[in-house]
């Protein structure tokens, strides 16, 4: 071996050693698992949110008698939406339980006023049998997205269901239980059960002019966990307003927008709503955020809107998080809440609270001249507009539209309203934020524009009656409650292309069995109060036949309450209310009512003098700014 070859071989060996050394510092492709840490114990997103309700499903063996079993049966469908079939069919005898299926249309909600056992005996085999009649009113069908769909306008609301029961031994037990042998085709649920098994939840959509929020009442099962409620609410928001609202509300979340993941809490008290890129095309981002904030305000203290995972900076909002208070003014109910009421006393408008004064539009020199012989009035929330119905010298009535902001006569301008006639003019109701008002005139509904001209209000569906005697515009200005032919309705209010051009949408009847209805007013954004006589239960605490007074119903006819429970049986002639602030809660706002020539105020369920007075003053025609 030559010396050169030896050197070459040595160089190769050294090179190989270097290569082997460097080859040892590559990226590993194997190895044992390395534990970084123990996985954090996570679980649900906070104990206070995991409102897992206890399992208290109604079962037939707890019923003590046939009537009790039927009452439990009306609760069963609402107890657990995920187990309707098993829960409800448990009330049926085994032969019919196997074939019974839930109604795909949803839960039929009925207000049961009485359960009557019409027959209870033993048959020839010695088996106990009974027949129970449930009577009440049909409220509607609780369908998808928590929407309560009212029955068609012409359909009778009267409800009656006859149940045949048989008493059979409890399987694997020694006792007996009553079971239904003739299951109804619908999946039934009583309003009473609905009030306990479902939470009324308000979604908010935008008004057509994108200036305010329009409430849309929905129902969420109390069995749904709070974290999931957020996701469900956002899904409902994405699906748009309920059909009943129609064109009175629009969705400022663009069509086609999808939810990216569930709506979850990220960090402390911040809930993230992550939407698909379609949301980036929203022309009214502020209204979109307001919809989310107000709709989720009970489930999410603070929100962050994300599009495709990236936080959205909303104009006018500091940071990327917001809550309902950020968009407080977008809910018109908050503006009029807590405002002072007024009434007419001796032909003059006076504040219901003694230490209050009249707004400028009612206290200027011109107004001072016109604030006489007043029969009814309406006032805007900002105090800039007033509509006065005054007694004319010819024995009729005249209507004046007053607006603040002029240069003469104390800066108030009053314009006589034309086209309404001189007789049969009811209590006007101003649309919020405008000078347009609705006025019932001799059974018809007229709108008064800012120019003082009156127009006939049209209906998208022909009203069953037509004799409109009272009207009240909701704080959002997109819904209206009216009394026509002695029946109470709520309907969407559509604004036409011209000033004062209004259209009443699909009418939804409320309290259909009530009589002697006088006036109606909005006490909450989803509740109306009216004067009338009726009953909601023949067996419950309000039993004892129809009661006169001030009743409060939800706009979908589900919930009801007699506000004047301890104040006699009189039906008030007139009433007015300021809505409660939805951000603060409250059963209703301040209600002023006029009965027997005196003014009274409802606080809670107590009726008393208004404004801390010792006795009810003389007066009539109460009203609140709207």
């Amino acid at each position: 071996m030559t010396e050169r070859r030896r050197v070459r071989r040595g160089l190769l060996a050294v090179g190989a050693a270097v290569l082997l050394a460097l080859a040892g510092c590559g990226v590993p492709d194997s190895g044992p698992p390395v534990v970084v840490s123990t996985a954090p114990v996570t679980g649900s997103q906070g104990g206070d949110e995991s409102n897992q309700r206890p399992a208290d499903l109604p079962t037939p063996e707890t019923a003590t008698n046939p009537s009790d079993l039927v009452q439990l049966f009306y609760r069963a469908a609402g107890a657990d939406p995920n187990q309707v079939q098993s829960t409800v069919s448990a009330f049926f005898t085994s032969d019919v339980a196997r074939t019974w299926r839930p109604d795909p249309a949803g839960l039929t909600v009925v207000r049961i006023t009485s359960y009557t056992v019409t027959d209870q005996s033993k048959d020839k085999d010695g088996q106990e049998r009974a027949t129970v009649r449930a009577r009440g009113q049909l409220v509607g069908v609780l369908g998808d997205r928590g929407i309560m769909q009212s029955p068609p306008l012409g359909r009778s609301r009267s409800y009656q269901q006859l149940f045949h029961l048989v008493r059979v031994p409890v399987p694997n037990g020694t006792t007996k239980e009553w079971l239904i042998t003739n299951p109804p085709s619908e999946t039934l649920m009583s309003t009473e059960a609905m009030s306990t098994e479902y939470n009324a939840t308000i979604l908010y959509f935008a008004s057509p002019d994108h200036r305010s929020l329009v409430p849309d009442l929905r129902y969420m099962s109390v069995g749904v966990l709070a974290p999931k409620q957020r996701t469900i609410l956002v899904d409902w928001l994405l699906a748009g307003p309920s059909p009943w609202l129609g064109q009175a509300a629009v969705n400022d979340i663009p069509d086609g927008t999808k939810r990216r993941g569930n709506v979850v809490a990220s960090g402390t008290n911040v809930v993230v709503v992550d939407l698909s890129s379609d949301a980036a095309a929203a022309p009214h981002t502020d209204m979109l955020a307001a919809q989310l904030a107000w709709s989720l305000r009970m489930q999410a203290p603070r929100l962050q809107l994300r599009v495709e995972g990236r936080a959205v900076h909303i104009p006018g909002v500091r940071g990327t998080t917001f809550d309902a208070s950020t968009w407080h003014g977008y809910n018109m109910s908050t503006i009029g809440a807590g405002s002072t009421g007024y009434y007419v006393s001796g032909g003059r408008i006076v504040p219901a609270t003694s230490n209050e004064s009249l707004p400028a539009v009612l206290s200027g020199s011109l107004a001072g001249e016109l604030n006489s012989d007043v029969q009814r009035a309406a006032l805007s929330v900002d105090g800039s507009t007033a509509l006065l119905v005054r007694a004319a010298s010819d024995g009729g009535s005249e209507v004046w539209l007053g607006r603040a902001g002029g240069e003469n006569r104390g800066g108030v301008v009053y314009t006589p309203v034309t086209g309404l006639g001189a007789h049969g003019i009811g209590t006007p109701s101003l649309l919020p934020g405008s000078a347009t008002a609705l006025v019932p005139v001799r059974g018809s509904l007229r709108s008064v524009g800012s120019d003082g001209a009156a127009h006939a209000v049209t209906y998208s569906e022909p009203p069953p009656g037509g004799n409109v005697t009272a009207v009240s515009v909701a704080p959002d200005g997109c819904r209206v409650a009216l009394v026509a032919d002695g029946h109470l309705y709520v309907a969407p209010l559509l604004t036409g292309p011209g000033a004062g051009r209004l259209t009443i949408g699909r009418l939804r009847p409320l309290a259909s069995t009530f009589t002697q209805l006088t006036e109606v007013t909005w006490t909450q954004e989803d509740e109306v109060a009216f004067g009338g006589r009726g009953t909601v239960s023949e067996d419950g605490p309000l039993s004892g036949g129809p009661r006169g007074g001030v009743w409060q119903f939800s706009v979908d006819d589900v919930s009801s309450d007699l506000l004047t429970g301890s104040a006699g049986d009189a039906v008030p002639d007139q009433l007015a209310s300021a809505t409660s602030d939805p951000s603060k809660g409250g059963a209703h706002g301040t209600i002023l009512l006029a009965a027997s020539g005196r003014i009274a105020q409802i606080t809670g369920n107590e009726v008393g003098p208004p404004g801390g007075a010792t006795r009810s003053p003389h007066g009539s025609s109460p009203f609140f700014p709207s």
């Binding site: 190895g31 996985a39 114990v41 993941g261």
Partner: protein, 564 residues
């Protein structure tokens, strides 16, 4: 068992003994050039050391960079997985429970949202594995969920121990060849159930970076090593070249070329070394020339003196012979003086003869008159010449000769002179004990050994006996009238033959002198037919004895391996 082990050990020892010389010879041969070449040694050492340093440095740097890349990747991956776990927990905890009809869709949605998320960890595969008690299937993506394989060991650690863990593995979720992946898993408890979330992060970027780093380090390292080797070679060459020139010059100087000088370039250290070397060479040349001149003058003086003494000595000899011849007519005292004069004149004449012979050796005039002769008669004749003396000193001489003739190309006169010298010395120092004379021969050499059993030689005297006028014990009386130059002349005679003259002795055991000459004149001898140490000696010598240096070294063969 023990016997087997012992046998194996013995076999190993035998094999090692058998192979060891060969291995050592190969090693010596392999390292021969390395030992001989300073340039090769420096370059190879530089190459080796720099390679080790560069390799160590490159390994450290590459390892650190790669480790840094992997740590960054791992931390980003863990952060990503932790965020993913939060997302899974947030998303799935909103469900009502295992029976939620939207569970399957939510599992798919959350996985899709996880792998669609743009992160620093790059692209990755995600797999969400529900607990076995949950009635929903695992889901993963963006690759086919079935192709996303999670290492079983990682699944075991994550699922059973409820941990966040990672593992380096290989996978091919997209098909094709296996590639390195970083698998990270975490156990997620969503309140109503548990899931295992796994991410597979491809390490393609890290592999590419590591390859780039490694390639760069290798190329740079090899270039650096070669550069260092080249620099070492250049530097060594710059240093070694003058050293080699100095060595060559020194060799030439030692060969007698006293005018040889180194070239002096520049003014650096090497130039000073060359100048100093040249100065030293000049000084040495001057000294050597002076000493040669002195030696030459001394030899000439000795020769001249010997020659000049011979003429008057002849006259004195004639006169002394006349006196010796007429001593019977002299009174006893005068007769004894005449006898003493004759004896001393014999010794003086012998001394003069030896001096002249030494002078001829010193002057290089000695010439070998070799011819093929039978050495047996020469030996017998030399022994017979000492018969009277031996008898007088009661020292018998035993002659041990081969049966046949021993033919060798030698100068018979010089061989006989050497033999007489050795036999005379043996009889003189034999202490009345027998003297043995042996003659032996082989194909290449002829040996003569003269063994006595006298007082012997002390250690170190084996070399001194060949010095001129050396006497072991100056107080001892000389019986044979030697001049003190006999062994010196004998040594020169042996060298002139190209042979060896060696001595062995031990106190109390006598001594032995061995003359070995080549059988054919001019041949080189490598061994002797007779041992230097006699077989009856009790003490073994420490080794073969070397010839003392002599002036006719060129004609004397170096002692080689002997059979003693």
């Amino acid at each position: 068992m023990r016997a087997t082990v012992d046998a194996a050990v013995r076999w190993i020892r035998r094999t090692a003994r058998r192979l060891a010389p060969g291995v050592m010879r190969r090693l010596r041969r392999a390292f021969g050039p390395w030992r001989r070449s300073l340039n090769l040694r420096v370059v190879s050492i530089t190459l080796l050391v720099s390679s080790l340093l560069v390799a160590a440095f490159g390994y450290f740097v590459a390892k650190q960079i790669t480790a840094g890349l992997l740590v960054a990747k791992r931390e980003a991956a863990i952060r990503q997985v932790s965020n993913g776990a939060n997302t899974v927990e947030q998303q799935l905890s909103t469900l009502s429970g295992p029976q939620d009809p939207e569970l399957g869709r939510n599992v798919r949605d959350v996985v899709v949202s996880l792998y669609n998320e743009a992160t620093r960890a790059g692209t990755y595969e995600v797999k969400l594995v529900p607990d076995a008690q949950l009635d929903t299937a695992p889901y993963g993506g963006p690759a086919d969920p079935a192709s996303i394989k999670v290492p079983p060991a990682l699944r075991d650690v994550v699922s059973r121990q409820g941990t966040l863990a990672y593992q380096f593995t290989t996978a091919n979720p997209g098909g094709g060849a296996l590639k390195p992946y970083l698998a990270v898993g975490v156990h997620v408890d969503v309140g109503w159930g548990v899931f295992d979330l796994y991410y597979l992060f491809p390490l393609d970027d890290e592999v590419s970076a590591a390859n780039l780093i490694r390639t760069t380090m290798i190329v740079a390292g090899v270039a650096l090593v070669l550069l260092l080797a080249l620099m070492a070679a250049i530097v060594t060459r710059m240093v070694v070249t003058p050293v080699r020139a100095a060595a060559r010059t020194a060799q030439r100087l030692s060969a007698g070329l006293l005018h040889e000088r180194m070239e002096v370039h520049g003014e650096d250290d090497l130039a000073r070394l060359a100048a100093s070397f040249n100065q030293m060479a000049s000084n040495l040349q001057t000294q050597i020339v002076r000493l040669e001149e002195l030696s030459r003058l001394q030899r000439r003086f000795t020769s001249d003196v010997s020659h000049e003494l011979r003429t008057p000595l002849t006259t004195v000899r004639m006169a002394a012979d006349m006196l010796y011849a007429g001593r019977d007519d002299f009174p006893p005292t005068a007769a004894r003086s005449a006898e003493l004069l004759a004896d001393e004149l014999d010794r003086f004449e012998a001394l003069l003869t030896d001096l002249l012979e030494i002078s001829r050796f010193d002057a290089g005039f000695a010439v070998l008159d070799a011819e093929a002769v039978d050495l047996v008669p020469i030996v017998q004749r030399a022994v017979d010449g000492f018969a009277v003396l031996a008898e007088r000193l009661r020292c018998p001489v035993h002659l041990m000769l081969p049966d046949g003739p021993v033919i060798a190309e030698v100068d018979p006169r010089r061989v006989e002179r050497v033999l007489r010298n050795l036999i005379g010395n043996a009889i003189e120092h034999g202490e009345h004990r027998p003297v043995e004379v042996r003659l032996a021969a082989d194909d290449r050499a002829v040996a003569l050994a003269v063994r006595d059993h006298g007082i012997g030689l002390r250690s170190g005297e084996e070399k001194l006996v060949f010095n001129r006028f050396w006497r072991a014990d100056p107080s001892r009386a000389r019986q044979t009238g030697g001049t003190g130059l006999g062994l010196s002349i004998s040594l020169e005679d042996a060298r002139l033959h190209g042979g060896w003259l060696e001595a062995w002795g031990a106190p109390g055991q006598g001594s032995q002198f061995r003359l070995t000459v080549p059988a054919r004149a001019g041949d080189r001898i490598v061994s002797s037919p007779l041992p230097l140490v006699p077989p009856d000696a009790d003490v073994l010598p420490s080794g073969p004895l070397a010839l003392p240096p002599g002036p006719t070294r060129a004609n004397a063969g170096a002692p080689g391996g002997t059979d003693d």
